[in-house]
Amino acid sequence: MNNGLKLTGFLCLLVLSACAFAVETELKLLGDESDGSMSPPPHLIPVYAESETGEKGEQITPDMEFPMPFSTRWSCSDCHNYNLVKKGWHFNVMDSNVPPGRPGEPWVYYDPGLCLQIPLSYRRWQGTFRPEQIGLSEYKFTKIFGRHTPGGGPGEVDTTEADEIGRQLLSGKLEINCLACHNAHYGQDMGGLSGYAVQVSRENFRWAAAASCEFATVTGSASQMPMTYDPFMPDPDQKNAPTVNYHKEAFNENDEVLFQIVREVPNERCYYCHSDLYQGAEEKTEKWTQDEDIHLTAGLKCVDCHRNGVDHNIIRGYDKETDISENPLVATSTCEGCHLPEGEDEPEAGRLGAPVPTHPGIPTVHFDRLTCTACHSGPWPGEQTTLTKTSRAHRLGTPNVNKAAEGLPHVISPVFASQGQNGAGYKPELLATENGKIAPYKVLWPAYWGIIEQDNVEPVELSVVEKVIGGAFADIELAATGDWPQINKEMIAEAIKALSEAVAGRAVYIAGGKLYSTDESGNLVEQDNHPAAEPYLWPVGHNVRPAAQALGVRYCTDCHATNAPFFFGDIKIDSPIAAERDSLKRMIEFQDISPSYAWAFAASFVFRPWLKIVAIGSCAVMAGVLLLYALRALACIIKALASENK
């Protein structure tokens, strides 16, 4: 057999294998394709553990002496293709082929003692850093941030760090926790004292899904176990060993468990990761003082708009998402998709009871310049932006969360910025945003230690920062509220000097929109408007306010006044450096509009009533003249006709 034939044969085999793999990953199982019934099927199923080799393990029974945690992967995969689910937006973050789409909320690593507040993301959103850039492996990332993920993604990556391989064998992987979203049981515990978040922080990744469900309790901590501990051969004498106990009454005579699984995820499940707390001047921080999104109040569920099929390719719900999403319902699931559809074959308006907006008195130019959310979403803008807490950034809904308003990270909102400005836009063809339109944003001013090369700033790894900056700032007093400590510029200069000695390259510090470095004589040099110091912005989608509470409902001066927050509101510049904390920027600086023009245009609205009076008065005079002479002409015609008749 010649070499060419061998090569051809090999290639054919390769193609066939690839096809077989593709078929396997795309294969729809029993529960992946609906037969048309709207009735949800009961999920009375046996549950399985994962074996030591990562395969389907033995069935969990209530009489097991040392049961292992059930694996969602192997328990659900009889009917649902796990590989298909993994493609979903919530789980595909590690897939570099997935377009990043519109910039979203980053993960924020913060440490007040190190003056750190850095946005992280595995997606290619400009302004964020990949976790490995600061030395966070997928394993460490999962331990810190896995608490507010539904599993999968970095939680399922095989670690390559030598010191983590053993730990991952012990902890297992944080596989996709189907229950995090689909378990409608009131006992689903994501943020409780022994719930999902706590298990993740204890490195009990393998146990996290079981701990979150209503019929299992997990104790112990894998992080406290020696690396030699084998969870598959549990030692009853080992203290703090991760252990799962199942409630025996949850199993039937066939050792099956009834899960309260729902197709349509309840809002409460979404809220665990997607809650916002806007801390205005009025201190409306209690749930009972706040209104929900108008859509929820109207009876809709989050998933009525944020829909997905079995591939879990959930709709994010922004205008240009159609450019990158394969979800067929993307176009009809935006604001316009429900409220302003123009059905060609059949009427589409009013889906889900969506009222078709009339926007009385709003010139149509607003729809070219603003997103729907600009007027309808987020809190009503005040004179100054407010600190905002989010579930994922502030660990909301988990035990011992810092409830102080000033607690880091400092997310600021609402900021009205043009899309495509200040890092909000990045490779439009990938992000598919409505460039140029003004939208409300949340803003994070990054604060991190870096090395500058030309104009590019790379963050310094955490281990180095902890060692050098931790040493330099060892004596600073940390605020009990979790706010920034009292840092002055001299301390920053000293820290940069110390860091320069520890790293190869020129050390800098980024904070409050400025780049700090030291000159040859060791003096601190500040640089404004450095690209690396730009704030990271991500859009505010919710809560949507009703039409009666939208911007502009009272009068144009809701926005077009010389002191209207929309253009002239103050944005607090967040910085660990005490002297910089009172710095402000104006909203207009984030918009692609000349400030003097915006001011002049707003000022002109003072004369708007006069303009109306003058114009209507002039029209009345002209109409009067026209009417008078028309009547006179008519009189002449009548007279002429009458004389002809004679």
Partner: protein, 212 residues
């Protein structure tokens, strides 16, 4: 669409005026163009023989003409040249001069209406136009040179068009009209503005032409 229609309309109007100049040339203009230009320029001045009312009327007319020029430039330049909607400082200038023009038009309507009413002198002109259109021949009548029916019609058209032009803009500022009506009012404003501008150009030409 609007851009194309507007450009064609302006070309036709200006072409028509050019054709008229060509077919009925002003011999003096060709012989002494500079002199004629100066003469045209002096038309902008206030004549001493004018009564106070006449002075006021001329001042108002000149102000209206200035406002029209500013409004036409700020309104049509972004649409016809840049291919975009009016915005920014141009919009502000547009909105500043618009009420002044509205006042001037109202004053001119009051002051000129009597002079511009159609009378018996205009009848032969009208008859001739009807005959041309209907191709019905009748005994020729001498047409009075004093009749300026073109100017008069243009005047009444200007006053008539000013109403939808102004109201379409002003009414959209009240919170009574939704998006559909806003778009309709905007279209009405644009197309009325186009016709208004053409009529003003014709009216101005008809004012100048007899004095050339």
């Amino acid at each position: 669409m609007y851009r194309t229609i507007s450009i064609i309309a302006f070309l036709i109007t200006l072409g028509g005026i050019g054709l008229n100049c060509f077919l009925r040339p002003c011999k003096e203009c060709w012989r002494h163009p500079l002199k004629k230009l100066v003469q045209l320029f002096t038309m902008l001045f206030i004549e001493q023989k004018l009564s106070p009312a006449g002075v006021f009327r001329k001042l108002v007319y000149l102000l209206a003409l200035l406002c029209f020029v500013v409004l036409a430039i700020t309104g049509f330049y972004p649409t016809l040249v840049l291919g975009e909607h009016i915005s920014g400082y141009l919009l502000m200038i547009h909105a500043t001069f618009a009420p002044v023009l509205a006042i001037c038009l109202a004053v001119l309507a009051v002051m000129w209406a009597r002079n511009c009413r159609l009378n018996s002198n205009d009848w032969p002109w009208f008859q001739r136009i009807v005959q041309r259109v209907t191709l019905v021949q009748s005994a020729d009548e001498e047409i009075s040179c004093k009749s300026c029916i073109g100017q008069k019609i243009a005047f009444w058209l200007i006053i008539f068009l000013a109403l939808p032009l102004i109201l379409s803009s002003v009414l959209s500022m009240f919170p009574y009209f939704g998006t559909y009506w806003q778009e309709l009012l905007l279209s009405l404003h644009r197309y009325t503005a186009l016709v208004f501008a053409l009529v003003v150009i014709v009216h101005t030409y008809l004012l100048i032409r007899p004095k050339m």
